[in-house]
Amino acid sequence: MIRYVSGRLAQSILVMFLVAAVAFSLFGFVGDPIRQMITEDASQAEIERLRDVMGLNDPISIQFWRYISGAVQGDFGVSYFHKRPVGTLIAERMPATVELAGLSVLLSVLIGIPLGVYTGLNRFGRVARGLMAVSLIGISIPTFLIGIMLIYLFSVILGWLPSFGRGDTVSILGGSWSTGFLTISGLKSLILPSITLALFQTTMVMRLVRAEMLDVMRTDYIKFARARGLGKRAINFRHALKNTLMPVVTVIGLQLGNVIAFAIITESVFQWPGMGRLFLQAIQQVDIPVMSAYLIMIAFFFVIINLITDLAYYAIDPRLRSNTLKGTANA
């Protein structure tokens, strides 16, 4: 177990290195950072001078090496655009994104799973079919459209909820984390963006659970559980749901990662001061230090999430823990 986890973490270093390498090799395609930083009427000579000064004229491999040797020492550089250390920039924006992503994934799980169970059990029910159709709205309307429409309805017309931003935040954990969960305006501000973000995932979770439920409910052990007179709840949730969880856990893990990493559209629409916006800005500004550090961090993130998902598999399914088949697959 410990060896497995540490082995995976060791592999993650390779992953992060590869991500950094790929990222660096594609910065050439993103644009020219100097032009993003300098005034439009700057002279060519000045541009060239700055290129030189910033080392952008060096071969990519040298730039990469320079970056990696800094990164290994925990120094991810200073953003071209923000002129601040990248670590600080990310740390400032992390709470906003994590809270939004966490809440929306939580919402999607809390709503998606029961709905999935329900629609799976009542396959031909009218309500279930209605839910199935309605759930598609969440994925067939683009996020930005949903966001704008929610804003229009709840902020402009009804005036109930703020249309942008995080509201008031409170610093906790010795100031290292700013949370919107502790103020009224912070909570109000979370509502629209988290709904917008959760829609797609709720649909996904719901449909996956339903699909798997349909299979599981036909198995002999469910039939036997019913024959033993077990209660509906025990059967649906203890026996059936648990057996549907593998793909659901997988997808939730990936979605959580995706939402944290690239919730760009939602964050833009609601002016959410999170990492997605930071990254989008970095792409637009060709802010190489931010992009690299960000991607490396995201890689690490996914490594962790996937590790947790894999561990969850083993927690969920004891058959995976047995090693009878190891090495015999090619016998």
Binding site: K223, A225, A227, R228, G229, H239
Partner: protein, 577 residues
């Protein structure tokens, strides 16, 4: 009023290909304290009746007519809610398939305790203690540590005992047992049967006992119903029916019961066919011309045994850990050595959980042994110098799995399942020929060519087992491992299939490793027999020798427990020592 009354019960399956009438109007009743045996053709609708009583027919099955009365209440019209109050608490059910009846993700203990909690007001802790106690009662060794195991860590017979425990743990008034002892060795079987009997007598519980084992029927049941093609053709007191069957199907069935006293060349077979049976006439196989008789290459007849097993040991890891002292493992097979000669049938008997299936799987190359080596035809196929099995070797070694339910891919049609080995080993020229072979094989296992178009879930347990057999035969194997090949079959089909195996052996020199709990069958089939107990091979002897003069005390213990069919000559017991 009787405990259970079935009045003109009809059950239909509406499939895409039309309606299948599985049960065609039967009347049955059961008194408190009575044990009713149900025997009959595999696929006759026995399990379907059981499922219908408890209100859990597999879709698309439905009750097309008739009534079910339980304890003076009509229950076939009850709501799901109403049924839930009855299930488990009032009617206990043991489904035919113990392998898939248990939730793979929950421990054995959890599943028992939750059922106990549901039907009593015990808290979780005491319920778990009760679970351990119950497991002990059904003969699971070391129950307090094994409650924490998961179903896949149990052998087939052990799982069956868990299922029995689960069905009985809430003290129901009626138990429906669908082949509850097929996977059990005779000693455990005897234990379970005693338990059931006691339950019925002492607590006035009614029981329906579905089985193919005439010995069991004769030993435990009060009355017996014989089913054929969705109808009850005969009912009566067990002793009457067994000794003086009136319906000709019953006669043919009883004639096919394997004898435990003498060894015969072939199983007696008597064909009964009802007018209107659309299935093709049962064919006698002529191996000289038949496809199964066509062999790619005769194995070189030499003195080396075909299969050689040396010091085989299998350890399952139960708990992985970095720290060696935390690791737990379970030695399922310890130091087993034997050899099987070409053209021979080697039997493996022994208590349930003794490692028979594990040995079989290692020989088949499905498990990697922890120690020891296996040689096939001189080539080492498992062990330190193991070679990769060649395609032809793969074709030569086949296995019939103990569990016919999970060994069939649920998403494939029978035709695909059976033709797969043929296509893979290019045993047929073209698709048409392959289809013909499949149809023929299905006929020979008594399913009929029609079966090819269906999916496994549309079949009864015995029918699925026959699909599995057809698949194993499809490669024209040289060496066939049979892990309980006929446990779910009625004796008449059993006779048909075992006769087929015998003639394959006689004419083509097929070698068999035959695992069974059915000692009469073992006696009829095997040349030499190995006896296993807790992972070790305690005795190997020629069949007749073993039955007449068992050496090991365990062997004689086993033989003494063999259930007897009333009317058949008792086995002459030769005391050991």
């Amino acid at each position: 009023m009787s405990l259970l009354d079935l009045k003109d019960l009809k059950i239909h399956f509406d499939t895409r290909r039309g309606t299948i009438e599985a049960v065609r109007g039967i009347h049955l009743s059961l008194e408190r304290g009575e044990i009713l045996g149900v025997v009959g053709e595999s696929g006759a609708g026995k399990s379907t009746i059981g499922n219908a009583i408890i209100g859990l027919l597999d879709p698309p099955g439905r009750i097309a007519g008739g009534e079910i009365w339980f304890d003076d209440r009509r229950i076939d019209t009850l709501s799901e809610q109403g049924m839930r109050a009855i299930r488990g608490r009032r009617i206990g059910m043991i489904f035919q398939d113990p392998m898939t009846s248990l939730n793979p993700l929950l421990t054995i203990g959890d599943q028992i305790a939750e059922t106990i909690c549901r039907h009593s007001d015990l808290a979780k802790g005491p319920a778990m203690e009760r679970a351990i106690e119950l497991l002990g009662e059904v003969g699971i060794p070391d129950p307090s540590s094994r409650v924490n195991d998961y179903p896949h860590q149990f052998s087939g017979g052990m799982r069956q005992r868990v299922v029995i425990t689960l069905a009985l743990c809430a003290d129901p008034d009626l138990v429906i047992c669908d082949e509850p002892t097929t996977a059990l060795d005779v000693s455990v079987q005897a234990q379970i049967l005693t338990l059931l009997r006691r339950l019925c007598r002492d607590r006035n519980v009614g029981a329906i006992f579905i089985t193919h084992d005439m010995g069991v029927i004769s030993e435990v049941t009060d009355r017996v119903a014989v089913m054929y093609r969705g109808r009850v053709v005969e009912t009566g007191k067990t002793s009457d029916v067994l000794t003086h069957p009136t319906h000709s199907y019953s006669k043919s069935l009883l004639a096919a019961v394997p004898r435990s006293d003498v060894r015969l060349d072939h199983f007696p077979q008597l064909d009964y066919r009802e007018a209107g049976d659309t299935r093709a006439e049962r064919k006698v196989i002529d191996l000289a011309t038949h496809w199964l008789g066509r062999r790619a290459a005769e194995p070189a007849a030499n003195d080396t045994p075909l299969v050689q097993v040396d010091n085989l040991t299998m350890r399952f890891a139960l708990h992985h850990s970095v720290i060696p002292s935390w690791r737990r493992s379970f030695t399922a097979v310890r130091d087993v050595s034997f050899e099987i000669h070409s053209g021979e049938t080697f039997g493996l008997v022994g208590e349930s959980g003794s490692g028979k299936s594990t040995v079989a799987r290692m020989i088949a190359g499905l498990y990697q042994p922890s120690f020891g080596r296996i040689r096939y035809d001189g080539t080492e196929i498992a062990g330190p110098e193991a070679q990769v099995m060649s395609a032809s070797m793969r074709q030569q070694i086949q296995m019939i799995f103990q569990d016919p339910f999970s060994s069939l891919n649920r998403r494939k049609r029978v035709s695909e399942i059976v033709s797969e080995p043929i296509r893979h080993h290019r045993l047929a020229q073209d698709k048409a020929e392959a289809d013909a072979i499949v149809a023929d094989l299905l006929e020979h296992v008594g399913l009929g060519a029609q079966a090819a178009r269906c999916y496994p879930h549309e079949f009864s347990g015995g029918q699925r087992q026959r699909i599995s057999i057809a698949r194993a035969l499809a490669t024209r194997p040289q060496f066939l491992i049979c892990d309980e090949p006929t446990s779910a079959l009625d004796v008449s089909i059993q006779a048909q299939i075992l006769n087929l195996l015998k003639s394959l052996q006689a004419e083509l020199g097929l070698t068999l490793l035959f695992i069974s709990h059915d000692l009469p069958v073992i006696r009829q089939m095997c040349d030499r027999i190995g006896v296993m107990k807790t992972g070790e091979l305690v005795e190997i002897a020629p069949a007749e020798h073993l039955f007449k003069a068992p050496q090991h005390p365990y062997t004689s213990h086993l033989l003494s427990l063999m259930p007897q069919v009333a009317g058949q000559g008792k086995l002459e017991r030769v005391n050991d020592r």
